[in-house]
Every structure is written in C-alpha cells, then in structure tokens.
Subunit: 600 residues, 2 copies
C-alpha cells in the first residue's frame, strides 16, 4: 500500500492565478514579493518538504502517539527533527512580519502551503499552525515588552505556542471560564486553574512554550465580559531572552483519542504547586476584560486554518483512493463485460472519485479566494475594495471552517469506501485520515457554532446586507457563464442555486426576530447551502477561466478540459441539492421547534 | 460517562403491531406461536439479556481485541461465557426450525431481537448472526447426512459457523475465486487455498466451527459458473457426533481494524500442511458448480442482517447522544438568553437528535415491514400474496442493506458531533460506534454493489414492474394521508417524493439499454432515493396508525404525538431531498460517463 502524497501544484497554481487573483494581490503594497514566479518556487519547495519530510512521519505519529512520563510529554520519533527543519526553512512565519523574522508573504500564498502540511501530516502541523493566530493577538494587543520578548521567538519557530480556552465545565461556553488571575505587585499575575483539550500543551520539541490563557481577574464581571487574556510561558524568560526558571504550569494528562494521535492533547494545570504566590506567573495581554475580543483574533485565524485542514486531509485521502482505484483489479466492465478492470472503470467508483475531487476543488477555490480577500482587506490602498473584501471574509469565515470540514468527512468516508474491506484495515492507512478528520468539525467551534455565527452575527445582525451583495456578484458570474461557449447549462444551474439561497435568506430574515429558534434549527442546513452555492460559484469561475484559449496553452488542453468537466459534475450531480437544502432549512425550522414529544 | 443501552420496546412493539402486521403474520400457518403477547415477552427477555449481558462487554471487546497465539484465536474476556448463556437461552435458533432445536419464530420477531444484540454488542453478535444464513443454505441444498450431522449443532449454537468467500485477489469479485477442491474416493473433497476477511474464522468459544467455503473443482468452468460450495469443519466429526480429528484449516493472521475489534477477522489457510492428500477435508453442499446460488441464500440473509446492524448501532449511538444532550449544560438559550441550558435545548442539537431518531425509525420501519413480507412470502397459503411479498422482499433487500447502513454512518457521525470534544476522546465510548459502523457499508457487498443489484437485477431485468407495483401501494398511503386529520401536508410531501422516484425510474428504464454506464453512475443516488421514499412511506404509515384514537389509549397520548411529530420532521426536513436526489441521479449519470480528464 503506497501511502504517499504529491502536492497538487497544478491545481494550486491555477486557482491562485486564475481565481484568487494572485497577480492583483502581488501588486498591493507589502505583497510585492509574491510574484507568480516566486509563489511557484515557494509552492514547489513546500511540496518537496511536505512529501519528503512530513508525510513519511504521519503514520509513525498515529501508531506511536505521545507519552506523558514524569510530567513531560514525549512526541513521536522524528517530530523534533522535522520541526527543526521546518523552522529553519522559514515555514513557521511564512505569512508573518519580516521585522520579527517572518517571510511576509500574503495569506493567499500561505494558504496552499498550509494545505500541504495538513495533507502530509495534520497531527504535526497543529504545532506550527497555532503561531499565526497567537502572534497576531500579541502583535495587536500585547505591550512592547511582550512583543519584544516573545514575537521573534515565536515567528521564527524557536519557541512554540498554545491556546488555552476550554475548561472541563466550559466546552464551547467561554462565559463559564473559571481560571483565576491575581495581580501581583510587580505588574505580573498569578494564574490558577485547569484547562483541557490543549493541543501541544506540553512537548519536547522546543525549549520554551508560550501559553495564551483565558482567565478572570478578581473583580471581573461575570460572563464573557469578564475574561482577560494572559501570556504564561513554560519557562520564565531571563533578561538575555533565554528560558529561565520553570513556571508552575504543567501537563497532567493526555487524552486517548480517535485520531490525530501524533498530537498531544493535554489537560493543563496552572498553579498546582500553590505555595506563597499561588499560581503560574503570567502577563496580561492588552487590557483587562477584553480577552474574548483578542481571543477572536486568534480564533478567526485558527478557524480558517481548520477549514484548510479539511481541504488538506481530503486531498490526501483522495490521492490515496485514486491510486488504489487505478491499481485494484476487480470485476468486469458493466457495459462490455470485459474482465480485469481496475475499479476506477466502475461507474460508481468513478462517481465517488469525481465527488471527492469536486468537493476538494470547490472548498479549495472558496478558501483561496477568501485568503485573497483577506490580503486585499489588509493591504489594499483602495478603501472601498478593502472594506468589501473584509465584509466577504467575515461572512465566509464560518463557511470556510464549517462547510469545508464537513465536506472533508465525506471525502474521507468515500476514500474508505473505495478501498472496500482493505479500507477498514488500519495497515492500509486510509482509516487514519477518517479518524484524524473527525475532530475538525468540532474543535475551534463545532459546525453548529459556525452556523449560528453565520446566521446570527453575519446575517441577522446586519439584515443580510453583505450576503445580498455577494448574491449580486454571483449573478454576475451567471451572466458570464450564459455568454460563454458551452457553459450555458451551468449558468442555468448556478441561477437555480442562487435563487434557492435567496429564498432561504428571505425566510431567515422574515423569521429571525419572531421565530429565532426555528431559524437556528435551520442554521446548519443553511451553512451547507451557502457553502454549496459558493462552491458552485467558484467552480464556475474556474470553468470560465479554463474556457479561455490562453488557459489551454498555459495549463494544457487536457487539464483545462478536466476542470470544466469537474465544474459541470459539481453543478449537476452535487450542487443540484441546493433547492432541497432551501426546503430543508424551512422544513427543519418549522418542525424542530414544534416537536415536543418526538424524543422520548 | 454512562454507556448503557435500553431496548426501545415501545418503538419495536408499535412497529410490529401497527406497521409490520404482526397480528396477521401470527395467523399464518407455522407462525401461530408468535402472538403479540408472546412476542412482547420475547422482546422483553431479549432486552434484558442485551442490556445486562452483552452491552457491558462491548467496550471490553473493543479495548482488548482478539489475539492469535500458537495458531489459536483468543476472543475477549467474557465472550465465551456470554455465548454460552446466549445459546442456552435459545437465541441462536430463534427463527429457525424447531425440528433442529430452533424456536421457529417468524422473521419479523427475530428482527427486533437481532437489532437488540447489534445495539448492545455488534462485535459479539457477528458470531451467532451467521447461523441463520448458513443453516438455510445447508437446509436447502445439503445432503441428509450433512443435515443430520450439522444442523442441530448449529441451530442450538453448540457449534459456530463461518462464510468463506473472499480471497486476496477477489474482494467482491467471486469470479476470481481460486481455492481448489479435489474429489476423493470416499466422496469427500480436499480443499486448498487462502481466504481473507473471515469473521470468527477461528475462536475459543465453541468446540467446533463449521466453514462454508467457495472453491473450484478441477473441471469447473471459469468464472462464477464454476464455483461450488463445501462444508469444512474445524474438527472432523466422529460417528457419535462429537468433534474428532483436527482438520487442515487454520487461522494464519488477524487483521488490525478500525473497529469491531472484539470480532476476530481471520486470514484462513486451507490445506496448508499439504501431505499425501493435500487439503482440508470438505464435503460438497448441493450440486457441483451451483455454489454461487447457494451462497446467495446465505448472503441474502446476511445482507438483511447487516442492515439490521445499522439500525442497532444507530439506536445505541442515539441513546448515548440523547443522554449526553440532556445532562450536558452549556451556553444560554438562544431566544430567552437564560443560562445553564442542557444542550438538547439548543435548536441545532435538537435538530441532530430528531434527525438521528427519524432516520433510525424510518430504517427500522422499512426493515420490520420487509421482515413481515418475508414471513408472508414463506408462510402464506395465499399464493398471490406470498408471491407479491417475495417480489417486495427481493426489491427492497438492497435498500435494507445499502440504505440503512449508510444512514447509520450519519447517525453515528451526529452522535459524536453532539458530544463535541468529548466525542473524540475514546473514553467516552461514542467513537467506538463510529468505528464499528464503518464496516457495514462495505461487507456483504458494498453500497455500490447493492445499488448495482437494485438497478440491474431488480429493476432493469424486469423493466421496473415490481417498483411500479410498489409505487401504486405508496400512492394508496398518500390517499389515506390526504383524508386523515392533520396529515394533509404529509400527503403532499409523500406525493412529491413518489413523483421524484417515478421520474428517476423512467430515466433509468429509458437509458438502461443504451447508456448503462450512465445509469450505473446514478445507481447509488437512486438507492438513497428509493430508501428515502420507502422511509417516508413507512413513517407515513406510522403517523396514520398513531393518529387513530385507539392508539392513543394503547400507547399513550404523548408517545403517539411524538411519532406524528417525528414523521412530520422526516417528511419536511429530511425526505424533502427526494427531488434533488432524482435530479442528482440524472446529473451524475450524464456527467460521470462523459468525464475523461477530470481525474488527473
């Protein structure tokens, strides 16, 4: 069984250049380095590192898992060495500030690179993946002292970082956070409490670990308005910047999980030793009681990153299933009766492979486009363009997180299905993707939480203004399709999709005030609908770009034909569900709230 | 974390009496014992055994798995003792011939009992679950000598049995079977070859194991027409019926699997020792070269049983998720803002629970109804009724297998989702259901194979005659709904469903000859469509029965109101996908076959 990974450079290049607007972005102030040529070189190098260094360790991590011994967490063999190479290659700070040792590349370039790491070894990637969000929070809100002490260490990957949010009694409900922070005379704080589900909460990879911790000050108001953010290093930092005295924070347990076994999921204890001061030494990040706001800075990046994990895992599962389907000989051709067929020739297996690839490409096109909007929002001198891009990023963040991760589950599911009985045997390797994937619709906010965010904060709060704006842009693509050679049927389908989205939006807006529970009961189907329509939209843009004569020359005739076929398959075999989803949103809304006895 | 199971006796009783026609069946010749009262008593006893004996071992089996040591397979602790009690209770032969020690109860009673075993401990249940199919094949085709030597031992559970079909080069493709059988002077055969994926191929539970093995005679024609069936006992049987000399068949490896770890999945070697005779001693079952036909007798029962596994696993996952959602306090009420809500009060969590329960009840209603048809087909003196019931059983067998098992995956998926982060931790127990469930859409014929069987053998071969007959019966239910108090909207929905089914059927019939590859590309969506419509139909019949005043008295007002709410939810929030599935069948058909470059 060959479990290998090859970075899909053609797909990445095509999407960046023809769909996400790389060229335009590379002309924005601060993005000038990200020329298409340099981007190609970066992607190629990353592809080599992913395939050569990270992918071979993926199975190792799953098999050996992590160990907690004498209060220390040991990661799988090879992890530390791979991380050293990763940091030395400048990959940790690829999209971060050059003044702190980062490469300063735009997010639309950093995104396919992150995807490669996730394809190759998601459990490993979870360690460096936290860096952008965490450093962003410190950069935004931290004091100059915190910035100068920590940012360079983190951006270069010399030290690692963690997010400490969840407590046993407070899963997704941060209002229930109980960890306490007591101010000290020297301006620092003493932190005490328990956190759970902390990825890489402890490990043997870097000489120091920087925890960002949500906790309450003694006089804090109750609920989310009384949460502050603290920086708690594993080792206190000496005046010369080296790690010094051990802080009173430790890993007290490791979870035995369904997947991502190479990544230690830690129960953390702060201030367990008690003593005079009682607590781990910590420093307030930003202002008191504004922790939730800073946390959302981290969280937004983390959510985007989890969506990319879905795309990466899906790509990896797809590649393995495709290779298996080409090698495995079983049964006869359904039409000709010819024996000795590789199973890819069976129509149902081909349908599954097309479904997998179409879903991955749809989610990837949406994510890369969103990454491009992110760059425009951050760097564009055109205020209006920047503001619109920011609105779109905000609207679609729950889609990139919630929808891409749900699609990934289905892709990994089909990947097992294509393997038949071999898929159920761990030795084959495909089951690991299925197990690893199961967390991504849960952590950094479940799909239900994403959907509530979408419907509540992103739509109802502004009465659907941004989504209506997006719908106008989608209809612009419908018009282009209608004029393009051979793409008219896709125009008809996309218009059906967008009309279904519009109907659902109107129902949500009409009922959001008086029937909020009904609207929230339809929130997840609505998330799927918006995702599906955005996928259609972006794949339609792929088809339009692929349809240009110049693309045939630049990317090859077979490749661009394949993209058009894929967009057509997505529109007619998958996105065709849109009207049913619109009906299901209303149906769920109207029946869930009224069901009183159906769950005996 | 309480991982317990309570048999859903109310649901089972309601479906058997009001939907599957238990009373009518108990009046058929040979089914007289199965009165509603006796059936209640049987279900109650089975529920106690499932909850008290089997469920507590489920986790044990998952954790410890099986061991192969010195050529012997050791099952998890407690397995042998539980099996002894199981056999002593008469559960192995519950639906089998009284003259061989069975209880002779109809399949519609044996089916909910099997469901309970699967809910409580699927890995354990796989051992006795093979008995009905295997003994059916021996009963149908075996010589008197084979019947008198083996049937009583198997029906009483004294010995266990296995099915040996798959070979490394021949997963689902039995035409490729290579195992050889050489006739001997004494009328026996010598069997040699390798089989893989043999559930309970060896174990320490019973003093003998009877393998039914597909193999080829020296002069057999190639392909499936040259396959014969042989009975190969682990120990040859002495004249007095006791196990004697060890036969040359052994387990040479155990698979390390994603789930069902309590069940040993064996690689089996026949005739490894070679020697003079070269092969394991075996006896031909029935006539030479008709093995595939007999195998389908086993397989049909096995497929139905795997569908029931799906329902059982789903029920178990649902119960655990429901209990968790009632206990777990998180967040505030979306409408009132009140804190300290159990998560079941969150609209999205309630939607997931309703989805789980509606799917389980739909699949269960279809399976129990099909079991009732099976009994009518077998026992009814009314030839016409029996023939119609047989047609319906044959038509819906791939639906019970293929559709119920796919639904189960979604139910187990949602069960993890409801648990949030806790669902990803193995200690919680819910991940085991998710892992165990992953095999059931694969073994005994993948979903793709079920769908091909449905579209090819069950529809195209007879030009859709039986499905048209079924559609007329579904429309009869539409009429009843239209006349029933408060159920008119459900009538409208069911008519939409059945109209979508009809459209898809016409497309299949119109294209089956000239565009078979296109039709087969839409086969799995069609299986989902037929399953979804049958689920709607049976839940509509549930709602009609629940709507009767007499039902309120017999089952309680809240319970029957809940059933109506559930049917309504299913119709409006789930089955509403039917028109989209019909479109997707055509869309997949038209795009998959034409895609030449989309899988680069």
């Amino acid at each position: 069984m060959g479990v290998s990974y090859t970075a899909p450079l053609n797909d990445m290049r095509f999407l960046l250049r023809e769909v996400a607007g790389l060229e335009r972005i590379s002309k924005l102030p601060g993005c000038e380095e990200a020329t298409p040529e340099l981007t190609d070189a970066v992607l190629e190098e990353a592809g080599k590192f992913a395939a050569g260094v990270l992918a071979p360790l993926n199975r190792v991590g799953d098999r050996s898992g992590c160990r907690l011994e004498d209060g220390k967490v040991h990661t799988p063999e090879g992890w530390t060495d791979a991380y050293r190479q990763f940091a030395a290659g400048g990959w940790v700070g690829l999209g971060l500030w050059p003044e702190y040792g980062g490469q300063g590349l735009p997010k639309c370039v950093a995104t396919p690179v992150l995807e490669m790491w996730c394809s190759a070894n998601m459990a490993f990637t979870m360690l460096p993946q936290l860096c952008p969000g965490e450093t962003e929070a410190i950069h935004l809100a931290g004091s100059d002292a915190l910035k100068s002490t920590y940012l360079q260490k983190l951006v270069t990957g010399e030290w690692a970082c963690t997010m400490n949010l969840t407590e046993p009694q407070a899963g997704s409900d941060l209002a229930a956070v109980r960890t306490r922070a007591v101010p000290q005379a020297d301006g620092s704080y003493r932190i005490s409490g328990q956190k759970i589900f902390i990825s890489y909460g402890d490990h043997d990879i870097t000489p120091n670990i920087v925890h960002l911790v949500l906790a309450r000050l003694p006089d804090a108001p109750p609920g989310v308005k009384g949460i502050s953010m603290f920086l708690v290093p594993k080792y206190l930092v000496n005046a010369d910047g080296t790690p010094g005295e051990r802080n009173d924070v430790r890993c007290v347990g490791l979870e035995h999980k369904l997947g991502i076994n190479g990544s230690p999921t830690c129960a953390m204890s702060f201030g367990e030793n008690g003593g005079d001061s009682g607590g781990a030494a910590g420093w307030l990040v930003g202002e008191a009681n504004r922790g939730l706001e800073y946390m959302f800075v981290m969280m937004n990046d983390a959510r985007f990153g989890v969506g990319v994990q879905g795309i990466g895992l899906g790509e990896s599962a797809y590649q393995q299933a495709l290779a298996f389907a080409r090698e495995r000989v079983q049964g006869r051709d359904a039409v000709t009766g010819a024996l000795g067929q590789p199973i890819i020739n069976h129509p149902d297996v081909k349908r599954m492979l097309l479904t997998m690839r179409a879903r991955i490409m749809a989610a990837r096109a949406v994510a890369y486009t969103a990454a491009g909007w992110f760059d425009i929002a951050r760097h564009s001198a055109d205020k209006e363009a920047a503001a619109k891009a920011r609105r779109y990023v905000d609207l679609l963040m729950p889609v990139v997180k919630g929808w891409s991760t749900e699609l990934c589950q289905q892709v990994c599911y089909d990947a097992i299905q294509i393997h038949g009985g071999m898929g159920f045997v761990e030795e084959t390797g495909i089951a690991q993707h299925y197990r690893d994937a199961r967390i991504i619709t849960i952590y950094e906010g479940t799909t239900g939480i994403q959907a509530n965010d979408l419907v509540g904060r992103k739509i109802l709060r502004e009465n659907g203004v941004t989504l209506r704006e997006l719908i106008i842009d989608i209809r612009d693509t419908v018009e282009q399709l209608a004029k393009a050679d051979g793409l008219q049927p896709m125009a008809t389908r996309l218009e059906e999709d967008v009309a279904a989205l519009e109907r659902a939006l109107e129902w949500i807006l009409a009922n959001g005030r008086d029937h909020l529970a009904a609207v929230l009961a339809g929130a997840v189907p609505f998330l799927h609908l918006l995702g599906s329509v955005c996928g259609s939209w972006q794949l339609a843009r792929v088809a339009l770009a692929a349809n240009k004569p110049a693309s045939r020359d630049a990317y090859g005739a077979d490749y661009v034909s394949g993209l058009i076929e894929l967009a057509r398959f997505y529109a007619h075999a998958l996105a065709v569900q849109a009207p049913a989803l619109a009906a299901a949103i209303v149906g769920a809304g109207e029946t869930v709230a009224d069901s009183r006895f159906a769950l005996p």
